[in-house]
C-alpha cells in the first residue's frame, strides 16, 4: 500500500456527500428511470419520462461544457462501443430491474426508506457485479466486450462522431435540446405537484446537475473523470469491504485510514442510502418493512443478481 496516496478527510467527505445529496434527491422527488419507461407503456403517462429527458439534457450540456472549458484534467471517460455486450447486458439489466422493481441506485435508495427487501436485492446485485467483473463470469465479459465497433477511427465514439465531421458536437447537442425542450415543457415543469416532496421537474433537473457535479468531483478528488456510475463503484465498495481493496482496474485508489484501499466513487455508494434515509425521515416515509412472503425475498435476490450481471456486461 506504500505507493497508494492517503485519502484526505475532504476527499472522503466529498464522496460520501455526493451520494447523500443524490440519495436525498431521488427519494425527495421519487425520480425513477424505471418509471420513466414503465409508465409510458403501462398507463401512457409521460411525467417521469419527461423528468428523465430533463436530467439527460442537463447532464449532456453540463458534462460537455465542463469538458470543453478545460475544467477537467482529462476528457470525459467515454466507453468503447461494444454493441453485443450492450444489448445482452442491457436486456438482462432491464429484466432484473423489472423483477426487483428498481435499478441500482433505486434499491440503494429503498434501503434508506427501511425496505428490507432492498437489502436482499443489494446482496444479489453485488454478487452479480463481482462475479462478472472479478469472478467466474469474467470470461463472458471479456468475450462479449471484445466485439468493439469503431466509428471512423474513434473507438470511444460519441453521438456526433456518427456524422464523421469535426466540430459538430454542439450542433448535435443543440438538435437534441431542440427535441427535448418542447417535450419537457409540455409537462408543465413549473407547476406545483399535488404531493409532498419535490416535483418531477426539480427532481430531473437536480439529477442532471448531480451527474455533472460527479463528472467534475470524480476528476478533482477521484483522480479521473468517471461520472455517476453505479455498477463499477458498487463493486469498488464491496470489494473494499470484503477484501480490503477495491481492486479497480482503471481508477485511482486511496488508502482509507490504513484499513484498505478504495476508489473515490465507492464512497458515494455509501452516501446514497444515508441521503435517502434523511429525506424519508423528513417526509415521514421511513419505516422498516419486509415482504410477507418468502418468495418475494427470492425474487429480490434473483432480480438483483440478474441486474448486477447485466449491468456489468453492458459496461455500467
Amino acid at each position: 500500500m506504500e505507493e497508494v496516496p492517503k485519502a484526505t478527510l475532504i476527499l472522503l467527505l466529498s464522496g460520501v456527500l455526493t451520494g447523500v445529496i443524490f440519495g436525498f434527491t431521488l427519494q425527495h422527488s421519487r425520480y425513477c428511470m424505471n418509471a420513466a419507461f414503465r409508465d409510458v407503456i403501462l398507463i401512457k403517462d409521460f411525467t417521469w419520462f419527461r423528468a428523465w429527458l430533463l436530467a439527460l439534457l442537463v447532464a449532456i450540456i453540463g458534462a460537455n461544457l465542463i469538458e470543453d472549458l478545460g475544467i477537467l484534467e482529462d476528457t470525459l471517460r467515454r466507453q468503447a462501443f461494444a454493441p453485443v455486450a450492450a444489448i445482452i447486458g442491457g436486456y438482462l439489466f432491464g429484466a432484473g430491474v423489472v423483477i426487483t422493481g428498481g435499478c441500482g441506485s433505486g434499491i440503494l435508495c429503498r434501503q434508506g426508506e427501511g425496505q428490507f427487501g432492498a437489502v436482499v436485492a443489494i446482496l444479489g446485485f453485488v454478487a452479480g457485479i463481482i462475479t462478472t467483473l472479478h469472478g467466474l463470469l469474467n470470461p463472458a465479459l471479456t468475450f462479449l466486450r471484445s466485439f468493439k465497433v469503431p466509428i471512423g477511427d474513434e473507438y470511444t465514439p460519441a453521438l456526433w462522431d456518427l456524422l464523421g465531421i469535426e466540430g459538430m458536437k454542439w450542433m448535435v447537442i443543440g438538435v437534441v435540446a431542440a427535441v427535448i425542450i418542447p417535450v419537457v415543457l409540455k409537462g408543465k415543469p413549473f407547476g406545483k405537484g399535488s404531493r409532498k416532496g419535490w416535483s418531477w421537474s426539480l427532481g430531473g433537473f437536480l439529477v442532471g446537475l448531480i451527474v455533472v457535479w460527479a463528472w467534475w468531483a470524480s476528476n478533482y478528488w477521484g483522480g479521473q473523470p468517471r461520472g455517476l456510475s453505479f455498477i463499477g463503484p458498487t463493486s469498488d465498495l464491496f470489494m473494499f469491504i470484503l477484501t480490503g481493496s477495491s481492486n479497480a482496474p482503471f481508477d485511482p485508489m486511496f488508502n482509507i485510514f490504513g484499513i484498505g484501499i478504495a476508489t473515490w466513487s465507492a464512497l458515494y455508494i455509501v452516501g446514497v442510502p444515508i441521503g435517502s434515509y434523511l429525506s424519508a425521515k423528513g417526509l415521514k416515509e421511513c419505516k422498516l418493512t419486509a415482504p410477507r412472503e418468502p418468495q418475494e425475498l427470492v425474487r429480490f435476490f434473483f432480480g438483483g443478481l440478474v441486474m448486477g450481471i447485466g449491468g456489468a456486461l453492458a459496461g455500467g
Binding site: 421519487r30 425513477c32 424505471n34 418509471a35 414503465r38 409508465d39 403501462l42 398507463i43 401512457k44 403517462d45 411525467t47 423489472v98 422493481g101 428498481g102 429503498r110 426508506e113 425496505q115 427487501g117 432492498a118 399535488s194 404531493r195 409532498k196 417526509l283 415521514k284 416515509e285 419505516k287 418493512t289 419486509a290 415482504p291 410477507r292 412472503e293 418475494e296
Partner: protein
Amino acid sequence: MGELSNMTPTDTLDVLGKVCPYPLVMTKKALEKLPSGAILKVLTDSPPSAEDSLPRLCEKLGYKFESLKNEEKGFWEIYIQKSLR
C-alpha cells in the same frame, strides 16, 4: 370519510409489503376484471404507489380516486371507482 370509502367495495386488493411497481400493475389488472361502476379497495404501504402512480393511473383512466392514510400503521386504504360507461 369521503364518498367512496363510505360505500362497500366490490373487491379488495391487498398488496401490503409489495413495492413499486407491483401495486400499480396488480391494481390495473384487478380493475380490468371489474365491471363499470365497481369499487376496488387497495391496501398498500408503498408511498410511490399510493401517492404517485395509483393517482396518475386513475387520472389517466378518468376513475374516481380516494386515499385514506393510516398514519399510525403507515399504510393507505385506496378506493377506486371504475367509471360508468
